[in-house]
């Protein structure tokens, strides 16, 4: 009796095994083994910052591409890309490291609240309802949609200013915050040597007077910085100055002339205080 069971079950098992083996041979999908190898060196963050769906998508694209010039992993940076290049026997392209930059400097002190929002604290919902708690309808809400979107803990709301701040060494420039900001205030900017960068931290397109009334740190489009710039890197459009990061040589001449301090210099050593004639006279009087 027990024999029948063993034989019949064994028979089913063997037939199944044969069928499965045949099927696996017949319907085999060839996958380049290098895809798995490349995927192993990638950071596995699946952030989508490279523009491909996850790290496996990026790995497949790397293997298929003729050159790695236009492919870069923002999280792994040059290190990872050179490893990938090593596996594939291709040359890694040179990548300009980028960083997320917040184009709003409307701190609580600079931008007085003119109304109070008590709805859902979510930037997307607030922007579907109205322009914001201040008179500037271009500025940051401060409800932290970008913080939620960041997979790398690189962006945080400063409780004093209620503005998002990017941590330089954590930001991988994956662009998640850029996509999620309903006011398009966050942009990817050239990281620059030693993370030094200069940018206009304002997005207000209102006329100068209106913008100034709404926020002390608003760019009023006065074009003083444009005249000061020796490299013609600054353009004014829609009452707003824009510094072209390609043309900008980080000479720092524009920031001091800005009447509203809307040009931000990040990671520069503190300025030596210039002894001007005015201050000399002041000292003498004192």
């Amino acid at each position: 009796m027990i024999l029948i069971a063993i034989i019949s079950l064994g028979g089913i098992g063997v037939t199944g095994a044969v069928l499965l083996y045949a099927a696996s041979k017949k319907f085999e999908v060839y996958e380049d083994p290098r895809i798995a190898q490349v995927q192993n060196v990638l950071p596995a963050a699946n952030c989508g910052g490279c523009g491909y769906p996850g790290c496996s998508g990026f790995a497949a694209a790397c293997v298929q591409a003729d050159s790695l010039d236009n492919l870069s992993c923002p999280v792994g940076g040059a290190d990872v890309m050179s490893k990938v290049a090593g596996i594939l026997g291709k040359e890694a392209g040179t990548v300009n490291p980028l960083i997320a930059v917040v184009h709003c400097n409307g701190t609580c002190q600079a931008r007085p609240h003119t109304n109070q929002y008590d709805g859902t604290r979510n930037c997307a919902i607030a922007s579907s309802l109205y322009g914001g708690e201040t008179d500037c309808s271009y500025g940051c809400f401060g409800y932290a949609d970008c913080v939620t979107a960041c997979l790398f803990d690189a962006i945080h709301i400063n409780p004093e200013t209620m503005l998002p701040e990017v941590t330089d060494d954590k930001c991988t420039a994956c662009g998640a915050c850029v996509k999620v900001c309903p006011k398009s205030l966050i942009k990817l900017h050239k990281k620059g040597p030693k993370s030094r960068r200069i940018f206009v931290s304002c997005a207000n397109q209102d006329k100068g007077g209106v913008a100034r009334k709404a926020c002390n740190h608003a760019c009023i489009g006065c074009s003083k910085c444009q005249k000061e710039c020796p490299f013609e890197a600054i353009a004014i459009a829609n009452n707003l100055a824009y510094i072209d990061p390609v043309k900008c040589r980080l000479c720092r001449k524009c920031a001091p002339v800005c009447p509203t301090n809307s040009i931000i210099e990040a990671n520069f050593p503190p300025r030596k205080e210039k002894v001007t004639e005015d201050s000399k006279e002041n000292k003498e009087i004192k």
Binding site: T114, N115, D118, G119, I125, S128, Y130, G131, S137, D206
Partner: protein
């Protein structure tokens, strides 16, 4: 048994504080701000410039495109500037600022109060006059009326005109007061609209919380062939176009179709009155009735207001802003929106201003969904609000689209009924905008 729509709906406390009050004419302000985007569609193009003298009724903005509307000066005076101004949307849009000097009207406008019943113009002329006068849906949706009266080719022919006199929104009484005082004009306007859309039957749908209006119109329509009054059971949102059609003729408009696909054209009572004035008196849409109300207001009123008057003036006319004010709502409590400044001007679609006290305005804390499905029961469009909210929260736009998020009429019944105080509508409105943008992008 009185009729009402068949799916969902709620019955919030009616609180019609200003019901039965006469319409008072509000004073003309010193300066008006007339937004150029008071309607759905392309904003009007300004045709005046700084320093121009205008009369009451002068065209100041020309319709820019098919779905757009003309804008007229509501006062006489001088244009001081054309600049960005805050409007009820919460954002700045172009507007014409006019300093008021006297009150001189355009000569073409007939200011005589005589009732003219007969309209001998052909339908095309009528629609032309409506287009010239810049008339939009006065119930709040502000869709240009001439577009609604000329349905796109390929649709069924309209068989029936439905006049929306439901005014289902709590607190608001602007349509009610207009019906009581301008009943003859509204009825004449309805007969003009019937001619314009070429139908022989019109039904005025009035909720049974306005028995005086029902009685008045029952006697008024006797002089007209084909117009009838249908009392409806009070239920929110009966004033929604699709809900009203369902209540009156028991037909359901398919998702994505126009009401004319079931043979109905819906117009508001306020629109019917504006049409009468435009066609018989050559008067463009320059004033409207606004309900100014609130439990703390000393004198809730119905005011006849020139377009462009800052709402601050209306609040003063209704007894001033009470001390304990928490929010000023533009529109009714269900579909209205909190305004961020009392300097926002009255526009063509402003049916009411509601002042809520701090206690009334407070947002209760939101809890997790308990899957009670109350929102599903009350949704008048038969949607699943809690699913749509989650889909928006997780940015699953495909799921949202598959569950017909674009059919949401934003009536707010779901948020009103939720025992966990979830802000369903805020999320759904956001998701609806995203999905509609996606659909538009796919089409082009």
């Amino acid at each position: 048994m009185l009729r009402t729509f068949r799916i969902g709906g709620i019955h919030p406390p009616e609180s019609k504080l200003s019901a039965g009050k006469k319409i008072n004419r509000a004073d003309i302000p010193k300066q008006v701000i007339i937004p150029l985007a008071q309607h759905i569609g392309a904003p009007a193009q300004a045709v005046v410039k700084k320093g121009d003298a205008v009369k009451t009724g002068t065209l100041i903005g020309k319709a820019a495109g098919f779905v757009s509307a003309n804008i007229h000066s509501s006062v006489s005076g001088k244009v001081t500037k054309i600049d960005q101004a805050l409007d009820a949307s919460g954002y700045k849009h172009p507007a014409v600022f006019i300093d008021v000097e006297g009150d001189e009207w355009e000569e073409s406008i007939d200011r005589n109060g005589n009732l003219i019943k007969e309209c001998l113009l052909p339908p095309k002329e009528i629609i032309n006059k409506i287009t010239e006068a810049g008339i939009v849906g006065m119930g709040g949706a502000t869709f240009p009326t001439q577009v609604k009266l000329t349905p796109p080719p390929g649709n069924n022919k309209a068989e029936l005109l439905i006049i929306n006199a439901a005014e289902c929104e709590p607190y608001l009484t602007s349509d009610h007061s207009l019906m009581m005082e301008k009943g003859e004009e509204i009825t004449a306007g309805i007969s003009i609209l019937m001619k314009a859309v070429d139908v022989t039957r019109a039904v005025i749908g009035i909720e049974n919380n306005k028995p005086d209006a029902i009685a008045r119109f029952n006697s008024l329509v006797k002089g007209y062939a084909g117009i009838e009054v249908m009392p409806l059971k009070s239920r929110y949102p009966q004033g929604g176009e699709k809900q009203l059609i369902d209540a009156v003729v028991r037909r359901q408009v398919k998702s994505g179709s126009l009401p004319v696909s079931v043979g109905a054209v819906v117009q508001n009572t306020g629109t019917a009155f504006a049409v009468y004035e435009a066609v018989q008196k050559n008067k463009p849409l320059i004033e409207r009735v606004v309900t100014v109300t609130g439990k703390n207001m000393s004198n809730p009123s119905n005011l006849l207001v020139r377009i462009g008057t800052p709402i601050r003036n209306l609040i003063d006319a209704a007894g001033g802003l009470p001390e304990n004010t928490g929010k000023i709502i533009g529109g009714g409590p269900m579909m209205g929106k909190a305004l961020i400044s009392p300097d926002i001007p009255v526009a063509k679609g402003s049916s009411g201003i509601l002042i809520l006290s701090c206690e009334e305005a407070i947002h209760k804390p939101m809890y997790d969904c308990i899957r009670c499905a109350k929102c599903v029961n009350v949704c008048p469009m038969g949607l699943n609000p809690t699913l749509l909210m989650s889909a928006t929260d997780f940015q699953d736009w495909e799921l949202a689209e598959k569950n017909h998020i674009v059919d949401c009429i934003e009536c707010g019944s779901c948020s009103y009924t939720c025992p966990a105080n979830r802000v369903l509508l805020d999320y759904i409105r956001l998701g609806k905008g995203k999905v509609m943008g996606m659909i538009r992008a796919r089409k082009s």
